[in-house]
Symmetry: C2
Subunit: 329 residues, 2 copies
Amino acid sequence: MSDSSLEMPVTYAAVAAAADRLREQAHQTPVLTSRTVNKLTQSQVFFKCENFQRTGSFKFRGAYNALAQLSPQQRQRGVLTYSSGNHAQAVALAGQLLGIKTTIIMPQDAPAVKQAATRGYGAEVMLYDRAEVTREFVAAQLVAETGATLIPPYDHPDVVAGQGTTAHELIQTVGPLDLLLVCCGGGGLLSGCAIAAAALTPNCRVIGVEPEKADDATRSFYSRTLQTVHNPDTIADGARTPSLGTITFPLVLHYVHDMVTVSDEALLRTLFFLWERLKIVVEPTGALAATALLNGPIRAPGAKIGVIISGGNVDICQIARLHSQIYPN
Amino acid sequence: MSDSSLEMPVTYAAVAAAADRLREQAHQTPVLTSRTVNKLTQSQVFFKCENFQRTGSFKFRGAYNALAQLSPQQRQRGVLTYSSGNHAQAVALAGQLLGIKTTIIMPQDAPAVKQAATRGYGAEVMLYDRAEVTREFVAAQLVAETGATLIPPYDHPDVVAGQGTTAHELIQTVGPLDLLLVCCGGGGLLSGCAIAAAALTPNCRVIGVEPEKADDATRSFYSRTLQTVHNPDTIADGARTPSLGTITFPLVLHYVHDMVTVSDEALLRTLFFLWERLKIVVEPTGALAATALLNGPIRAPGAKIGVIISGGNVDICQIARLHSQIYPN
């Protein structure tokens, strides 16, 4: 693995540099343990809780790491991105901290609460009509007009390196691991964490976890050819991305040891378990990795296991509705 | 304060001894901070998160500290308590860990989930009919029959000393405080924490927080005469206790600097804020102290403030219903 890793688009050195860059800006998020979980799984489990990260998800790490490396000229012209999710708020806050103007392109029908949260971090929200144009078109137009830099949600080396600081921090806190479970949407968090694990705990198996209904990365991993999904109907909204990226796909192939999928129902059961037993608010995508262990295919008795909880931005009313579906009366 | 503190029923030495006793058994719970909260309150706030404690609340500290000090004869005869709440599970787990048989007296109509959780920790649950007998009568009968020791939920020196380890741990983690906010039901947590604060951070003001509808301790504090409430209709179920106890009342008078109340609506707004911004699951009673600062009467700009989050045992469906009442549509 080490021979060809130098040809990879993101190196461990980039992750370590990102960790230095983030030290004063990101939260060093808590690592939680649960005797109940350890008993159930007969292993030693460490939950790295990025739901406690600034803006409520790991996305702040990648966004800040990317924006902090822009040149003075680039900073002057501002940055933009398209996202109605966690990456939007992450870019907005990173811009606010670095004094960089940020523009977030969102569909007109994005929830008002997400628009407001993004504006709350000082970003300009630009709405577009999904029926008329694509977000890529709106972004390209804006880049042409303003010279702003596009910071994509995952397919960018600085974003990947930033996300990798999550595992970097976890391993520095708890020591070497036997197994690391990471959720996978576009593969930014997964590939970044796998790079960190390969350097810091080389005997650790890194496994990516996807929703069954959005299993493009799993199929890509096994076929070694990039596979896509189209608007998958999964509750894990952060994993609805159409495919891995041109940067994250080779990294996943190189650094990740396996990919597994979990059902939406297993995901929700895990989410409520985490709320009720660990007392943490986790969004559906944020519970993917834990699901593989608690209600999914992973069994590793005796192992020391890291589980990334990736975010906690969730609408309580929506969760309550889902709860009543899964556990009627 | 120091002169008469020797006449008090619980000393700082008892709290420190409890901390030693609990070291291997209780979780050292995380202390969370929030830039948003610090900005809103213009102060530096440290949330001591006992919702992450074993059994989901601080009650484990007091229960374990009390049970661990029983004589071999007392252990042999077992312990009992009456509670359908957090104290029940705390006593059950402490008994399980120490090999002491525990019996919990609950009303027949206690939620099945709480009965099951308590049995899950190995306790025997004894149900009684509220229409026919009082819990005190059932308990007295059982004590007479079996010689078991009654561990009351707050009015016991070892219980108070155990709860005080919460503030002890917080102050040892973050250093001296200017202000400590603690919720108040029967006053076990409040008086224990106030004893620890008086010893470890003597310039710290300790303020107890009650629901408006269950303001007996506040009235007792100001009148210096024990006041009661009867079945108060507050969402903070842990603060529905009829009055302070014969042990906790003098401790509160001696060590606590002020008492304030908050409305149920302010409490719920705070609870949802903690869920949505801090990503932690908090039960209504557990959010009382935070409410005084975030949606209540306490203003302390520039201060270093400790806030005890006392527990997180809450029914998600119930919370969802309350959410839709407070934030319609």
